[in-house]
């Protein structure tokens, strides 16, 4: 559903040209869960931000098929929750709908259904500062899903969370994904996270940022603790680690 062809990005620092992303080709199928992994400075976030329209590429094309309208927004989850602190959890989730002029009742229904989906039923009226880091990130995911985007982009969404919370949110993300059938591009620097979640893992190398290798991941779904005990899972992680060297 998305075709990236020759997308690259350069910028100038003190007159010297720096390449953030070499020309990159990537196809993502509808409903696929793709992870992009790589060390800092490999351009993985740059690629994601270009797809989201937050940055402009120096060249190349991105074609989105099946987009319902050119104004179709993509879902984006940042590393930080980026919630509006004066709005409750429910109001944060419905914020994109309110600003797009969706009817009150409809927005309310969608938002409370999504809060239930991310496991936050009962926290509708909580302000962000009263929620834990993991809960805030769930609100952020619910907000990204509120306008029902075809494509969900996630930029190290669990990078700032502790490992226990992160493991739990990984499982919940898979549950949400299988229920909503979104296409997901997930940027991370965790080998385990990438291997556990994805249909496909893209490994990128830094300076200049470029795709180094691509792994198809065909562990059966739904995945769980059994996946993490599978020797093939460890073999994949070893390969990913080696490619990251």
């Amino acid at each position: 559903m998305i075709q990236i062809r020759g997308v690259h990005k350069e910028f100038a620092v003190d007159g010297a040209k720096v390449t953030a992303l070499s020309p990159t080709d990537l196809d993502v199928r509808r409903g696929e869960f793709v992870s992009i992994i790589g060390p800092s400075g490999c351009g993985k976030s740059t690629l994601l931000r270009i797809v989201a329209g937050l940055e402009t590429a120096s060249g190349g094309t991105i074609a989105m098929t099946e987009a319902r309208s050119p104004a179709q927004r993509v879902g984006f989850v940042f590393q930080e929750p980026v919630l509006l602190p004066w709005l409750t959890a429910l109001e944060n989730v419905r914020f994109p709908l309110d600003t797009a002029g969706v009817a009150r009742q409809e927005a309310e229904d969608v938002a409370s259904r999504l809060l239930r989906l991310v496991g936050l039923a009962g926290f509708e009226n909580a302000l962000p500062r009263t929620l834990s880091g993991g809960m805030r990130q769930r609100v952020s995911i619910a907000r990204a899903l509120s306008y029902d985007p075809l494509l969900l982009l996630m930029d190290e969404p669990f990078g700032a969370l502790d490992l226990i919370t992160r493991d739990r949110l990984n499982d919940e993300l898979l549950a949400i994904w299988s229920e909503t059938r979104k296409t997901v591009i997930f940027v991370t620097h965790s080998v385990e996270e990438a291997a556990y979640l994805s249909d496909r893992v893209i490994v990128m190398s830094p300076r200049p940022g470029a795709i180094r290798s691509i792994y198809e991941v065909d562990f059966p779904r739904p995945r769980g603790e059994a996946t993490k005990l599978d020797p093939a899972f460890h073999h994949l992680m070893a390969n990913l680690r080696r490619d990251l060297q």
Binding site: G53, L54, R73, F76, W86, T99
Partner: protein, 257 residues
């Protein structure tokens, strides 16, 4: 709020009692410092006379209008300067010059330009309130994190939505700090303007009392002015508390007051 009112009332009563004692014990002549009961009867006399209400209305009207203009201008300019730093750099020396010039020195000029009615007073009040508000607004608008700019782009917010629903709420705490400073200076600016030339207003009453050598009229005017300034400041605080219930700053203040 009630606690604050109670402690304020206690202080006022203590001051009145001390004042009375000093006047009686030290035999201060009434033309210098009248006793509180003389002030009270003077106030009642002036209140019975329709003019006192008119004086209060005129000053209050100037303060409210000037403050609103100054506040809106402060937020708008603060936002503009953060958005267009080049314009900010161009205009900020001018604004600073306007602020460092003594207000009491600007007032005669404003009177010459704008006449003797509300115009020059409202302008003066707007000048003194807009500056702290603008400083607060600039601090607020420039500290909105870039991830929120990204959010606005992703959600395709219009410039107005971005301002009204993201940037303004984020900037409200420092804007309110500026509004509070402005609110205390607004009444002073009104009096300065009125002292320079007016036909109505508490500042005019003040100069009238001085010309007639009537200390009790002057004191009535002072008391009304400070009450007005206090009430105005409290009103701003009340609005602030309601608007910023979500903000951490309100927890510590709630505990302190």
């Amino acid at each position: 709020m009630y606690k604050a009112l109670f402690s304020a009332a206690r202080t006022v009563v203590a001051v009145i009692v001390a004042w009375w004692l000093i006047v009686i014990l030290a035999r201060v002549p009434a033309y210098l410092l009248p006793a509180p009961d003389a002030i009270a009867s003077r106030f009642l006399f002036l209140a019975g006379n329709a003019d006192l209400g008119q004086h209060i209305r005129v000053t209050l009207g100037e303060v409210v209008i000037g403050f609103l203009i100054g506040g809106i201008l402060g937020v708008a300019l603060g936002w503009g300067f953060v958005r267009l730093p080049r314009v900010g750099r161009l205009l900020s020396p001018l604004i600073l010059l306007l602020q460092t010039a003594p207000k009491i020195a600007i007032a005669p000029l404003l009177l010459l330009w704008l006449g003797i009615d509300m115009g020059p007073k409202v302008t003066l009040i707007a000048i003194v309130t807009f500056f702290p508000v603008m400083a607060g607004a600039m601090a607020g608008f420039s500290s909105v994190e870039t991830s929120y700019r990204d959010l606005a782009i992703l959600l395709k917010l219009s410039p107005w939505q971005r301002f009204r629903r993201v940037e303004l709420p984020f900037s409200l705490p420092p804007i309110f700090a500026g509004l509070r400073i402005g609110s205390t200076q607004a009444v002073t600016a009104a009096v300065v303007g009125e002292l320079m030339g007016a036909t109505y207003g508490l500042g005019y009453l003040l100069s009238l009392g001085q010309e007639n050598g009537d200390a009790s009229v002057v004191i009535v005017a002072i008391l009304l002015l400070s009450t007005m300034g206090w009430a105005f400041h409290e009103l701003i605080r009340m609005i602030e508390r309601r608007a910023l219930r979500w903000h951490v700053s309100q927890r510590s203040l709630e505990a302190a007051l």
